[in-house]
Symmetry: C2
Subunit: 156 residues, 2 copies
DNA sequence: ATATCTGCAAAGACTTTGCATGAGA
DNA sequence: TCTCATGCAAAGTCTTTGCAGATAT
């Protein structure tokens, strides 16, 4: 069953960069593609392991680094000491979202409620910054922090 | 010479929380107040050390954690494996800024442009998210990523 | 007086690296 | 065949923790 971007859409990107297509890499991309949420390296390892017990944590880290460098995956820090990874989705794509992080329990909510102002703001900011600072802007990150319902009730 | 918010503006906040005012904490706040840029724990340690050689790295970390919890300081991750800290500045304050990170050399530029659009967008987003997800939003982070001028030229 | 704070050293956690082996093109 | 990729184990780096002594209130 082909994914939303066609069957093994990333093979071309890999070959174009001179990277090889291996079982481990396929398994990791597979997990990332179906992931509902941001996963840590270990989360991915655990999900890959049942079908590919030969893939070690080291390969997970090395592959993730590769994918981040290629821009296929985004790396996040939610403040709990381990990085999280998500398949990249352009700002207009279906799955594009940002994060709402509870600073108390570290729970993270994905939200996709994009108001027009945000897109407008991002567009202008990226254009302006690119020109002013001579940056090729490829990505942005927006996160909101606060206290979730549960934690607020507990504290009260 | 009193700082921009009055002499030892944070003493009240500390006492109110039952925290003690110590030489180490004064020195750390002093450094953060005058910092031009985001500093790592070690940066702060090195800046505090000349005048307070008795303050160790442990105290730096413990104090920073305290300050972050109090909301007086923001903690950032620019992807190079060490956290950076900055005195918090409300979105309307003079020093409020966001970051432009070069994914290649990790250089970080502070920018203060586009604040008006940003305020409008933030206001709406925070209101909407707070209501929809029952979050008390206290902070936000916006970062742009890309490749800086130098790195682009090197690659070409 | 006493609860808080601190330095030091050690532990902890996540991530990266060296090297010989295995696998893709 | 000839690189590139991988597992394992060890190292690395930043950060946190335990504890006894020092300090602020």
């Amino acid at each position: 069953m082909p994914g939303p971007r066609g069957p093994v859409w990333w093979h071309g990107r890999f070959r174009g960069c001179g990277y090889r297509i291996t079982l481990g890499r396929e398994a990791i991309l597979h997990v990332l593609t179906r992931a509902e949420a941001h996963l840590s390296a270990e989360d991915i390892y655990l999900k890959v392991h049942p079908s590919c017990p030969s893939v070690g944590l080291t390969t997970i880290y090395r592959t993730l680094e590769l994918l981040v460098d290629m821009g296929l995956v985004h790396k996040f820090d939610f403040g709990d000491g381990r990085a999280r990874y998500e398949l990249a989705e352009g700002p207009k794509k279906e799955g594009h979202h940002h994060h709402l992080v509870c600073t108390s329990c570290k729970r993270v909510i994905n939200y996709t409620d994009f108001i027009d102002e945000e897109l407008e703001f991002l567009k202008r900011a990226e254009e302006g910054l690119a020109k002013k600072y001579q940056f090729d802007i490829t990505n942005h990150m927006i996160q909101f922090y606060g206290m979730c319902d549960n934690c607020r009730k507990k504290k009260a």
